[in-house]
């Protein structure tokens, strides 16, 4: 047998038993031949048999050896057959796929979108929610979350003392005090960095090691200890070029000299936005029972390794209860719970991210449904081909293999496109994300996710891809062949599968669109909220005057100089100052009493937000005075102390009285008896903490009478406010080189970034909904177009019998709309549940908003009509002669 023949005809594969039989037969032939030859020479049969055996040697050994060699040969043959079949299949598949470019492109695009979007979103969810923080036993790192009388609360210095001395289940505790730090180095402008003050045990609680230098050691937080600071890796690289000699260097933080002792690895910063760690030094009276009412700290602890976090939680609750018994007044109805630092960091994100994940899973589902549909449509079209190949001797296994190869090639290309989509989507996602979403920036593409998603898509393709081969065996070849290679037969069963898939797709698209509609609607509601001030034409900026170099007199001088010089800048119409401005996140709350009303227990005393402003602040911000007067330039130290209250304050505390002329006693330090101030005016409400938050009762005191280290400046101009940024910065630098201006933003920008999260979620879901809509339109189009092509003959007969083109088109569109209608009804039912899921993210719109559901229905009907109109137009143009000649 020559090698060329071997390629043409493949020998059937042999089993181990057949090999053994072949070997036996070959050896028996030899012995029989030899015996016959000897007998013909006159040897007796017995002697001949004996001689043949002797000449042969060890038969059993030979049989074993030859059997083993033949099995090797067989295995090698199978391998080479498999490889050559594979190459053949790949070549054939690529030719087949290129012959149907529309199908191929649609399938690859569908897979790419589904795989890519899913990978990107799951990578984000994994990076943000599921991946633990980079600390050993991070699950034992906990924050103490306090509430009092149902409101969220923070820690007093005495919470540290109480827990440190009483709790036995903890390695230790540390406070966290957020602080803004003006960092000045030699020969450089001061910069503002996010800092934090903590106990000396902070880094040993985190269990991390410094990148350079050392961390805090015991005693670093003693009142007499020298000032030391630890910096983050990013700051180290940015300001010191990553030079190790920075250790031991002195910098000025808020004008106080600090020695840098260590560097924190960039990915192990906690809290994540902090770049500068200092030790907390306590004032003598801060660690005493008098400070139990003062709440401004965060508290972190580490639970001992062998201890259950639930047991530790129980312990801090017990301690809290004991303290409430001992100090009933400041601690009335105060509760505490442990939350892991991770939960503390991302707890708010959990729900929105899981909703987004759910949405993207639906998109993947639609993608899979589309692939299944495309495969089915193609399968039906290929029945003829399958029948021909079967008739030519291809086994069903062989057909399955070839179709599998086709599906795998499609899925692989889809997965590659998906990876590209995921990369792009991640980039866009992170760009779209508001900066206040922690950890989001650390997310990267997750290999496992990509693999899992790709496998899901691959399986879908394979399951539906091999269907044509499965169907070949079910009916007889002759029928399939007679029906012709045009594949004009349609089985109702496959049609029903395809229609069910389209209905499901439409239903999922309706659900997604409804969710997107609700989120977009509430986003629009949010944007239409009047913030209470004019957002256009105002630039704002913040700075911090360090306590070390500023007392109330120097602050007043600084403020006066800043105000005067800012007003002199070209284009400036008015200048206002305040300690906090709306939407900057800053707030201070103080208890107060109203003079002339019966006294109440301290814990029942009402509290209000209190701010300090300059005379022109309201005018600059465009906040209207409702009654009385604004803060005036005559409200200076020595003049009568005054207050302006907002509308919400007047409503809450003087519902049936005129607040003007009443006196409020604010407990904001200074005089132990409180600071008595007369209400001289009422100003309009402002959404200070976000457009979705209702305005809170607020009082405004003159800045000249109550100075503050924290200064915000707002400047109104007729021109573009952003142009004032540079001159204002320069002005501040000129006044004090160690005071950097930060958070320089127009008020429009502040409003926009305050709704950043909502915009992020709404745009994400909207993108998914758009993808879902497109995919289901493609699916619907595919099914209708295919149905039309199947019925060319029938339509031709109808036209011949007098049906008009319009009539035919209406009939085809009607079929598409029936499928859509069923899908919409099912989707609307699912939306009821989906709406309930997103209801906590909604603002001013009900989860069952009829407007949204109505418009979604309209959009889908329109898209479905379009998707069916295209094939319907083709159906209407059917030429009966051509259609019937085709038979």
């Amino acid at each position: 047998m020559t090698p060329a023949r071997k390629k043409l005809f493949r020998l059937p594969w042999r089993t181990a038993r057949q090999i053994r039989d072949d070997v036996d037969e070959e050896l028996r032939f030899h012995l029989d031949m030899r015996i016959a030859a000897l007998v013909s020479l006159g040897v007796s049969p017995d002697a001949a048999r004996a001689q043949a055996a002797r000449e042969f040697g060890d038969v059993d050994d030979a049989r074993r050896y030859i059997g083993a060699v033949d099995r090797d040969i067989e295995a090698a043959q199978r391998r080479s057959d498999f490889m050559s079949d594979l190459w053949h299949d790949i070549g054939y598949s690529i030719r087949k796929l290129r012959a149907a470019p529309l199908f191929t492109l649609a399938a690859i695009a569908t897979l790419g979108l589904g795989i890519g979007a899913n990978t990107a979103i799951f990578s984000v969810v994994n990076g943000v929610l599921l991946k633990p923080l980079p600390f050993p036993r991070a699950d034992h790192l906990v924050r103490l979350r306090f509430t009092q009388q149902g409101h969220s609360d923070v820690a007093t210095p005495m919470d540290l003392v109480d827990n440190r001395t009483r709790a036995t289940n903890f390695v230790g505790f540390s406070v966290i005090e957020g602080t803004t730090a003006n960092l000045s180095r030699d020969n450089a402008d001061a910069e503002r960095v996010q800092g934090v003050r903590v106990n000396a045990n902070w880094f040993s609680l985190l269990r991390i090691a410094p990148l350079a230098g050392r961390f805090f050691v015991e005693g670093d937080d003693d009142a007499s200890a020298p000032n030391v600071a630890v910096i983050g890796e990013q700051l180290w690289q940015r300001d010191f070029g990553g030079d190790k000699s920075v250790i031991g260097k002195t910098v000025r933080i808020n004008s106080t000299p600090f020695t840098i002792v260590g560097v924190v690895p960039g990915d192990q910063r906690y809290p994540v936005t902090v770049e500068l760690w200092m030790t907390k030094h306590w004032a003598p009276n801060e660690l005493s029972d008098q400070s139990r009412g003062a709440r401004w700290l965060g508290l972190m602890g580490r639970v001992k390794d062998g201890v259950d976090v639930a047991a530790a939680d129980n312990e801090v609750e017990k301690i809290s209860e004991a303290m409430e018994k001992q100090f009933p007044e400041p601690f009335r109805e105060r509760r505490v719970h442990l939350v892991s630092v991770q939960e503390f960091l991302v707890g708010d994100l959990r729900k929105p991210l899981f909703i987004v994940l759910g949405a993207v899973t639906l998109v993947l589902l639609i993608a899979c449904a589309n692939v299944a549909n495309l495969m089915l449509v193609r399968a039906t079209a290929r029945e003829g081909e399958m029948a021909v190949r079967t008739a030519l001797g291809a086994g069903r296994g062989r057909l399955v293999r070839q179709l599998m190869t086709e599906s795998v090639i499609l899925s692989l290309v889809g997965a590659i496109v998906g990876l590209a989509v995921a990369k792009l989507a991640m980039h866009e996602l992170l760009g779209l994300a508001p900066p206040n979403l922690p950890l989001l920036r650390t997310a990267s593409i997750d290999g496992t996710t990509l693999a899992v998603t790709a496998i899901v898509a691959l399986l879908t393709g394979m399951i539906f891809g091999v269907m044509p081969a499965m169907q070949v065996g079910k009916h007889d070849l002759a029928t399939a062949l007679r029906a012709g290679s045009r594949g004009t037969r349609t089985r109702p069963a496959t049609n029903r599968t395809k229609q069910a898939i389209v209905v499901a797709e439409v239903a999922v698209a309706v659900t997604l669109l409804t969710g997107a509609g609700l989120l977009l609607h509430s986003f629009a509601n949010l944007l239409s909220v009047d913030p209470g001030f004019r957002t256009d034409g105002v630039l704002s900026m913040k700075l911090l005057l360090p306590q070390r170099s500023y007392d109330s007199t120097t602050i007043r001088n600084f403020v006066r100089a800043l105000e005067t010089r800012a007003r002199a800048l070209p284009g400036v119409r008015s200048v206002g100052l305040a300690n906090f401005i709306p939407l900057d996140g800053g707030r201070e709350d103080y208890a107060f009493s109203i003079r002339g009303r019966p006294p109440v227990r301290p814990s029942d005393a009402p509290s209000t937000e209190a701010r300090k402003i300059s005379p022109d602040f309201f005018a600059t911000m465009g906040m209207p005075i409702v009654r009385g007067r604004s803060i005036a330039s005559t409200d200076v130290p020595g003049a009568p102390p005054v207050l302006v209250v907002n509308h919400a304050f007047a409503q809450a505390f003087f519902p049936n009285e005129d607040p003007l002329g009443k006196t409020i006693v604010l407990g904001w330090g200074g005089d132990p008896g409180g600071d008595a101030r007369e209400i001289v005016g009422i100003v309009g409400d402002v959404h200070s903490f976000g457009l979705e938050e209702a305005p809170e009762p607020t009082v405004y005191a003159p800045m000249a009478q109550r100075t503050d280290q924290s200064i915000s400046i707002v400047v109104r101009t007729d021109g573009a406010p952003a142009n004032l940024a540079a001159p204002l910065r320069a002005l501040v630098r000129d006044l004090d080189r160690e005071v950097p201006a930060y958070s320089v933003q127009t008020m429009d920008e502040r409003v926009a970034s305050s709704v950043g999260r909502q915009r992020f979620y709404a745009s994400l879901i909207a993108i998914f909904a758009a993808v879902a809509l497109i995919l289901s339109a493609v699916g619907l189009y595919g099914v209708i177009a295919y149905a039309v092509s199947q019925r060319t003959h029938e339509l031709g007969v109808r036209v011949a019998l007098g049906a008009t083109g319009d009539r035919i088109a209406r009939m085809v569109i009607g079929e598409g709309l029936v499928l859509t209608a069923i899908g919409i009804i099912m989707g609307a039912l699912a939306s009821v549940f989906a709406g309930r899921l997103v209801s906590s993210l909604l603002f001013g719109v009900s989860a069952l908003d009829p407007m949204t559901i109505g418009s979604v229905t309209l959009v889908l009907v329109a898209v479905a009509a379009l998707a069916s109109w295209l094939p319907a137009r083709r159906a209407a143009r059917v030429d009966p002669l051509i259609a019937m000649r085709g038979d």
């Binding site: 030899h30 030979a62 050896y65 030859i66």
Partner: protein, 110 residues
């Protein structure tokens, strides 16, 4: 060709089988008889190693095998040289000749 003393018989046998099949396609019994007659029974070759050699050469791709009908109408396994087998035989033959000449040079009285 480098020949290890222990490989001598096996290697020699492979060359003899390749040489025999160079005459044409034949079954194992014919190969056995042919070698027997050509060596006048001097080498006393058993048939078991001969068949091992045939299958080994088949695995190496030097020989291909096919079932066919023998002269007395029985199913027999016919062997023939492949192109690779022909090349292998040419290489081994010249190596063997050089080897044998070298041995003779030593043995010949000078």
């Amino acid at each position: 060709m480098t020949v290890q003393p222990l490989d001598l018989l096996q290697g020699t046998l492979d060359v003899l089988v390749l040489r025999t099949l160079a005459w044409g396609t034949m079954h194992g019994y014919a190969v056995s008889r042919w070698i027997h007659q050509r060596t006048d029974g001097v080498l006393e070759i058993e048939d078991a190693p001969l068949y091992k050699s045939l299958h080994r050469l088949e695995r190496a791709g030097y020989v291909s095998a096919e079932w066919g009908l023998s002269e007395n109408n029985r199913r027999a396994r016919y062997y023939s040289l492949t192109a690779a087998g022909r090349r292998q035989f040419a290489a081994e033959e010249s190596a063997w000749r050089r080897y044998a000449e070298a041995v003779f040079k030593v043995l010949e009285p000078t």
